[in-house]
Amino acid sequence: MADLKLDQIHKSYGAVDVLHGIDLDVKDGEFVVFVGPSGCGKSTLLRIIAGLEDITSGDLMIDGDLVNTKSPRDRGIAMVFQSYALYPHMTVYKNMAFGLKLDKQDKAAIDARVREAARILQLDQLLDRRPSELSGGQRQRVAIGRAIVRQPKVFLFDEPLSNLDAALRVQTRLEIAKLHQELKSTIVYVTHDQVEAMTLADKIVVMNGGNVEQVGSPMQLYHHPQTRFVAGFIGSPAMNFTKVSIDKVEPGKVTVSIPGGTPSVLPFDVDQNELGNQVELGIRPEHLSLGDGGELTVHGEVDVVEKLGDSTYLYLKLANGDRVTVRAPGHSRVKIGETVTASVSAGAAHLFSGGGKAFAKVDCPAEYSADE
C-alpha cells in the first residue's frame, strides 16, 4: 500500500504530444478514477504508472521512490487489463500463481495466497479450468485475482468492466467496491463510464485532451464543476447550457437575461468588466421543475418526450434555438408540441465565462453543495 505522486508528467509519441504536464497526488488507500472522453490519454497515463510506457518528462513517485526508470516488476504495482490478458494455455490456478512463481516464492506460500484470493473472488470451483471455459464475468474475476495475489502497493485497472453486459457490470462494480473496502489498497481506475466513476471513486480525475481538468470527490465535481467541460461531462443526462448576456454586476450578484425568459439575479461573484459579455448558463435537468416556482425560468416547445417510468425527460426548444432537458416526474402528461415553462432556484445555476471557467458562486444552498 502506498501513495502515488505525479509531477509534470509529459508524454509524446514522436511529434504528437499526448499528455501535457499532469500533476496528481494519490493518497494511501485512495480509490482514484480517471474519466474523460475517448483519446484524452487516460490509458496512456495508467500505462505510464504501470511502467509499460516511458515518461517523456516529469517525475513519478510510488511510495516516495522515484520510479521513472524502474521496470514494471520493481514498481510494486499490478494491472488488470481491459482484455483481461489471461494466458489461454494455463489453468485459472496457474494464471493466478504465475506472478508469484516469477517472484520465486515457495510452493506452499503460492498455494495459500492463490486459494485465499480464489475464496474472496468465489473462484474456488474454477481453479482447474482454462480461461476459454469461463464466462466473461469469471474471466474478469480471475484477472483481478491474478493482481490480488501479488499484494501490490497499487492496483491499476483499465476499463475493467467494458467487456461485460449491463447487469454483470453493475454486479462487478459492487464487487470491486467491496474489494477496495476489504483490501484498503490504493487503486487507480480508468473508465469512460461516469456512473462507475461516481460510484467507485474517492477522487475523480477528469481529463480532457491530455490535461487534467479537475480533481475532486464525486460530489465536488457534480456540484462545483470548475470548467464548462467538467460540468457537461459529469451528470446524466448532461447539464443544459445556454448563452446569456450579463446586464448588471453587483457585489455577489449578477443579472443575466435569458433569451425568451425574464432577467434573473444570480448569486455569483463576477468581475465588473464582464458587463455586457456573453457567458454560459448551466442548469442540470434534474434541478429544473415544471411551472414557475423558481427564480430562473425558461419557456420552450417540447419536441421529444422520453418516458423512463420513474421519470420523464422533456426536451425543450428555446426561442434562441438552444435545447434544454427537463426531468419531470414519471406521471407527467406533457405532450409533444406543448409549450411549457420550467424553473429552477437561482442557487442551482452554474455560470461559465466565455473561456469556459466557472464563476464563483456565493452562499451556495446546502442542497446544491458538496459540503457535508
Binding site: P72, A78, F81, H89
Partner: protein
C-alpha cells in the same frame, strides 16, 4: 429423384462437398498414393534377369549391410534436424521483430524482403552462393586483397557451407508461420507478463513460446521436410563429400539404373521423415491437426 426429397438438404450438401474435394482427392491419389504404393512394390522385388522379378528383401538388406548407405542416412537426418533448429533460432527473433515491433508499411516491406530471394530459382540462388564462396570467388578475393588471407580460400565443400545454404533456402518457410502466429498474440498478454514480474527471458519462455508453439511446429515440419528432401543445395555447395541421402537415391535411379534399390531408399526416406516429425510432435505436445489448422 422422388425418394431423395426427404434427405435433400444433407444429400446435396454432401454431394457438393464430394464434388469439390474430387480434384484434390484425384491429385492426392494419382501423384502421392499411387507412386508410393508402386515405390513400395518395386522396392520389395529383386531383378533375376531381363523382365523377370522375384519378391525379396535384398534391397533393404543391402542398405543396412553397406555402412556408406546408412551412415549417409543418419548424417542426413542429423544435419536436417540441426538445420531446422538453426533456422528456428535465427527465424524466431526476426519473426518476432516483424510481428511485434513493425507497424503498417514497414512490416510489409520487411516481409517482402524475406520473399525476394524466392523470386529467382533455387538453382540460380545456389550458384550465387558458389560465386561468393568458391576459391576464386568474391569473398576469397576480398580476403586476399585486404591482406587477411595470403592465399586463395576455399569455402565451398564443407558442412558449414551446406548448413548456411540449407538455412538460407528454408528461412521463409519458418518465418511465414511464425509471423502469423506471433501476430495473433495479443500485446496485452506480453505486457501482463512484464507487469506480473517477468523479464524478457521469462516472458519469452512462459508466454511467447507456448503461444507460438503451433507455428513453431508447423514451420519446423515444413523446413525439416524440405531440408531432408533437398537435392540441389547439398549437392552444389557440398560437392562430392556432401553425403546427402537424396544423392544416393539419385545415384541408384539415374546412374546405376537400379530402380529397386532406389525405391527402397526412397521409401526409407519417407519412413525417416514421418518418424522424426511424429517424434517432434510428441515431444512438443502438439498434434498435426493443431499445427496445420
Amino acid at each position: 429423384m422422388s425418394n431423395g426429397t426427404s434427405v435433400k438438404g444433407g444429400g446435396t450438401f454432401r454431394f457438393g462437398l464430394l464434388l469439390l474435394a474430387f480434384p484434390l482427392m484425384l491429385w492426392l491419389f494419382l501423384l502421392v498414393v499411387l507412386p508410393h504404393i508402386d515405390l513400395f512394390l518395386v522396392s520389395m522385388r529383386e531383378r533375376i534377369s531381363y523382365g523377370k522379378y522375384e519378391f525379396s528383401l535384398i534391397n533393404y538388406i543391402e542398405f543396412f549391410s553397406e555402412p556408406l548407405y546408412w551412415n549417409t542416412y543418419v548424417r542426413t537426418a542429423v544435419m536436417s534436424i540441426f538445420a531446422t533448429f538453426l533456422t528456428l533460432v535465427i527465424g524466431f527473433p526476426v519473426s518476432y521483430y516483424i510481428a511485434k515491433f513493425m507497424r503498417g508499411k514497414g512490416k510489409n516491406v520487411l516481409f517482402l524482403m524475406c520473399l525476394i530471394p524466392f523470386w529467382v530459382s533455387e538453382l540460380v540462388r545456389t550458384f550465387g552462393w558458389m560465386i561468393l564462396l568458391r576459391e576464386s570467388g568474391v569473398v576469397s578475393n576480398f580476403l586476399q586483397w585486404s591482406g587477411i588471407a595470403d592465399g586463395p580460400v576455399e569455402m565451398l565443400y564443407n558442412d558449414a557451407t551446406i548448413m548456411v545454404g540449407l538455412v538460407y533456402t528454408s528461412m521463409l518457410f519458418m518465418i511465414v508461420p511464425l509471423v502469423s502466429v506471433l501476430d495473433s498474440l495479443d500485446d496485452s498478454l506480453i505486457e501482463a507478463g512484464y507487469d506480473l514480474g517477468g523479464n524478457g527471458f521469462t516472458v519469452t519462455r512462459d508466454i511467447v513460446i507456448p503461444h507460438a508453439m503451433p507455428g513453431i511446429a508447423s514451420g519446423c515440419i515444413v523446413v525439416f521436410m524440405l531440408t531432408l528432401g533437398n537435392y540441389l543445395t547439398p549437392n552444389l555447395l557440398g560437392g562430392k563429400d556432401s553425403l546427402w541421402f537424396t544423392e544416393q537415391i539419385y545415384t541408384q535411379f539415374i546412374t546405376r539404373f537400379n530402380w529397386e534399390s532406389g525405391s527402397a531408399f526412397g521409401f526409407l526416406l519417407l519412413v525417416l521423415s514421418s518418424l522424426i516429425v511424429w517424434v517432434g510432435l510428441k515431444l512438443s505436445k502438439q498434434t498435426l491437426s493443431e499445427t496445420v489448422g
